[in-house]
Assembly symmetry: D2
Homo-oligomer: 338 residues x 4
Amino acid sequence: MLVNMSSGATRQEIDHVIERIKECGFQAHVIEGAERTVIGAVGSSGRRSEIEALRAAPGVEAVIQIATPFKLVSRQLRQTRTVVDVSGVRIGAEDLVVMAGPCSVESREQLLETAQAVKASGARLLRGGAYKPRTSPYDFQGLGVEALRFLKEASEATGLPIVTEVMSEVDVETVAEYADMLQVGARNMQNFSLLRKLATVSRPILLKRGPSATVKEWLLAAEYLLAGGNANVVLCERGIKTFETATRNTLDLAAVALVKELSHLPVIADPSHGTGLRSLITPMSKAAVGAGADGLLIEVHPCPERALSDGPQSLDLNGFAELMKELRKDPLRVIRAA
Amino acid sequence: MLVNMSSGATRQEIDHVIERIKECGFQAHVIEGAERTVIGAVGSSGRRSEIEALRAAPGVEAVIQIATPFKLVSRQLRQTRTVVDVSGVRIGAEDLVVMAGPCSVESREQLLETAQAVKASGARLLRGGAYKPRTSPYDFQGLGVEALRFLKEASEATGLPIVTEVMSEVDVETVAEYADMLQVGARNMQNFSLLRKLATVSRPILLKRGPSATVKEWLLAAEYLLAGGNANVVLCERGIKTFETATRNTLDLAAVALVKELSHLPVIADPSHGTGLRSLITPMSKAAVGAGADGLLIEVHPCPERALSDGPQSLDLNGFAELMKELRKDPLRVIRAA
Amino acid sequence: MLVNMSSGATRQEIDHVIERIKECGFQAHVIEGAERTVIGAVGSSGRRSEIEALRAAPGVEAVIQIATPFKLVSRQLRQTRTVVDVSGVRIGAEDLVVMAGPCSVESREQLLETAQAVKASGARLLRGGAYKPRTSPYDFQGLGVEALRFLKEASEATGLPIVTEVMSEVDVETVAEYADMLQVGARNMQNFSLLRKLATVSRPILLKRGPSATVKEWLLAAEYLLAGGNANVVLCERGIKTFETATRNTLDLAAVALVKELSHLPVIADPSHGTGLRSLITPMSKAAVGAGADGLLIEVHPCPERALSDGPQSLDLNGFAELMKELRKDPLRVIRAA
Amino acid sequence: MLVNMSSGATRQEIDHVIERIKECGFQAHVIEGAERTVIGAVGSSGRRSEIEALRAAPGVEAVIQIATPFKLVSRQLRQTRTVVDVSGVRIGAEDLVVMAGPCSVESREQLLETAQAVKASGARLLRGGAYKPRTSPYDFQGLGVEALRFLKEASEATGLPIVTEVMSEVDVETVAEYADMLQVGARNMQNFSLLRKLATVSRPILLKRGPSATVKEWLLAAEYLLAGGNANVVLCERGIKTFETATRNTLDLAAVALVKELSHLPVIADPSHGTGLRSLITPMSKAAVGAGADGLLIEVHPCPERALSDGPQSLDLNGFAELMKELRKDPLRVIRAA
């Protein structure tokens, strides 16, 4: 870490910082520049958080963190790519893995029809919401355990493993009974109590990026899972909040490419939430593949205009079949038959 | 609600939308414009979410929501301002209520010293974190129940009621035993499981705005609390995420003024998190008062440069006394002695 | 346009709006909803801006624009795609057009070496800055006319047409003498004086999206050019400003896909400025192609670590050759030999 | 400046950077940390931009700028506050200076009526747009020179000096003939050609912050003016673009407080553009005063609902009189009679 003294810092203020750096178990290296002094805190066993607090000491302008803040998720620690196995489907390996299904599970029929169709088109996992995080308390909140049962049935009927969101620590065990992979929704990315609970579960986790999370914050949320004992984490870019209103969110595909550089974890993209517009799902799916995504998460509904949530960003069954055909033309990633 | 047809919509597409609007329990009013057709869905008892889904129907360009999405928090419903009573301290009444204390409770001594000092300077509530949401799993996570005990002791010693964050549904009852007011942190603003639990608690809630929440989303999060049965809600603006990096967040004081226009709930501001810079706390506290805030939340630490969290944005004990002196010069709001 | 009355609007306020709508040359269609009244202003020949101003009338909550604000750039007006011919290179046709070269023209040698190399690798246009918009007045501001002469020479030596930025109305004629295509930089996207001048020039324009421009604002900037008489406009997405700091900007590829839906104009992407990181140029170039971009703008420098501007986001000559090889593997767009 | 080597940097890569630092005229100070090496470039006479380019050298992770990038605008250079005199009105001195008038000059009558009224209420400068930067080419673009003549007449009638926007280099001399202060609009903040021209003019400049400009970029734009010879610069915060759509922009009052800390230049706030909502102008004006603003820029129109631009964010004549009364209650700043 580097402590950047302000240009008017006194000798005494500089000495105080040097002393504190030593007290915290680091060596202090001083660079006296033309305009100001910078002091490096060097060593691996000191108390880092106390150096950060020096930002509050007189004469200090900034404390600059130099080391990477995440460890277990980092490619510095682990050079080989992690492949996450979800009941036999390998995410992060050579295949592009497409997960598809309705935003919300609305009925047994809706789900089974969708599951059969997406399976036939080449999806490898079935998605579907049982517990729905809704901005308004007056919107449809999901069918809960009943939906989980429908998901299980659809999985047995099609052979597709299930990924579904868990919103509450209290529900983690129940959801883990039914689902093959547990999803942390974007709005819960920094629900650290939920992350800590999920770190102890024997199911892989799909961790969506928060709508205002930096790549660093996102990787540190994953670090909670790995540090707590769950190494089977797949990251999912789903768009960030920006000033642009023509799309629901801004799908940040450079984050996909950057995460693949910084971390060994697989990363997928969600062009449905990422754009909010059905007509953009196909071009942005191709774009995600170009950026290096290991998979896609696509909302599919038999009749989007009657969907209880997210209809405008859902493909219908034919639309999904068309998308899969388009993706197969792309030789960058092989999509094998399920 | 209004369904805005695209300029190329066919007669058949328009008729389909009209039919669906009727099926959903609304009347359909058609406006045929020069360039396109707009169809109003009129009525109070129809199924709104199904109209929203029409966005996915062919020929539809947008569905525009006209009615206010929140009800119980709205001034349309309730003209008189809500005053929230926190163990005798009235928030939203004539006084400006300043809540102060350390970001984290670090020790019995640190807390008691701070509590005595902020009380002497005029604070009306004591804040202090027992459970800390930290971006990194390797940072100090709070003392938990031990901190709650220290808070209770400090409250008894000073007479100041306590406000502290609860991060997990599972901890709600424990925290409610010790604290007078429960805080929902910014990153949990849309943790709907936590909100539903807090709706059932007999303690007032301090609901911080999420770093990427619109004013509408923030009020809808409060609506979860009111709809669930807890009407004692105070809102807290604490800065939003923007491209600006010179400050930690961008304190959105227009949101304070706007919330006072839209809602009957009290609203306070947190210039510590809102700016991340100690030197900006005093000007932005005055600014918040100018914008109409009912109170302030200020981080205070006996020795910020040794704080385990948020030192750079904490005032020391003298700094807080100075701030309170400055605020007393401002006649817009009376700060009575505690 | 629709005038959305507030829920408490009086009969008198509603009547006043109806009257004004008629005064402005429109018909007024009233929808009385359960909660509020909406009034449509219908007609093609009224004075739109006066309806917008009704937002300021008592009892009005919002004025909603329904019609598309842009005309000449819109696909509603013109269904066939525009192909822009830049001295024989067709942008917006079947080929992916890669424009490459240094951020700044620094010397005759640097430019000629780069031009020969990018030509050999398959670039179709040569880019290079003669006038540089720099955040600081103390940074290198470009070689001006001397750079234009080097560009001309490089063009003659390689056969590659030239694209270069013009920053000032006063320089438009000079730059147009040397360059085949004139670039409007991101920070000048809403320099309307410059746009009006460029509308009168007989050169195609490359219009970069402003770092905080919505897609709508961007298309309206293009509308200035078309309305002023210059129909040869290529749009360029180069990243927007968001809270993310790991990349220089956030490359908004959904905007590329959306612009292709809304407009007949060609659109290209600039992954150099869009990410600011050399290692992300190749994945984001592929992503841009997947999203439907008609071309790419790539910064290339013989020795990026000695570049006078934007070295960190420039490929070296080998790096560019590698990128072009990667792009040729992608069958979605054919890159023909130059 | 500090060069932060990546954790896997080789000895050779480190040596190369050290060598380059010396070649560029700096001394190199090496800090070998536990995880990585940091190299300081020390000295005042080296070639900074070449050190920045080292970001592109192998093994380099980041180049960190330590010194303040702006000089002449900085309080480090000049401790005493600049007071800008606009034809006798002193901005940055003890008085709060309120500038008021219509967004656009629409007619002689509209302007004279407004000028008389705002003068009577206590405004000190008259604002009014002659050249209007409009997002759409089909919106009212201003009356140009005719408006300048009306402004001159209104100034002579009331004694209020004039501030008006200049959009084009070509118009600078004409506008300077009529106006007492020239405004650079938000969208032209980084129109460096215009800034260079204005640096040579003998009129004070009002420099609005760009909607996506960081505080640093804003101060560097001001640096262009001072470096070019015009020291009479007043900064104006007018809101930045964020994800929030309830207000037109997000008025960043912390930027006002921060600029007063970093620079000796006066800074004012524009709550009209900053919020876009008339009802928020008064609270946000008070907030701006609390944050330390030296003045306010307020849009006033005799009949906002008939304004040709920005009606919804304009006060009418009574509304402005009310605002001035409210501000006079605030003892933090004295508003003397004009």
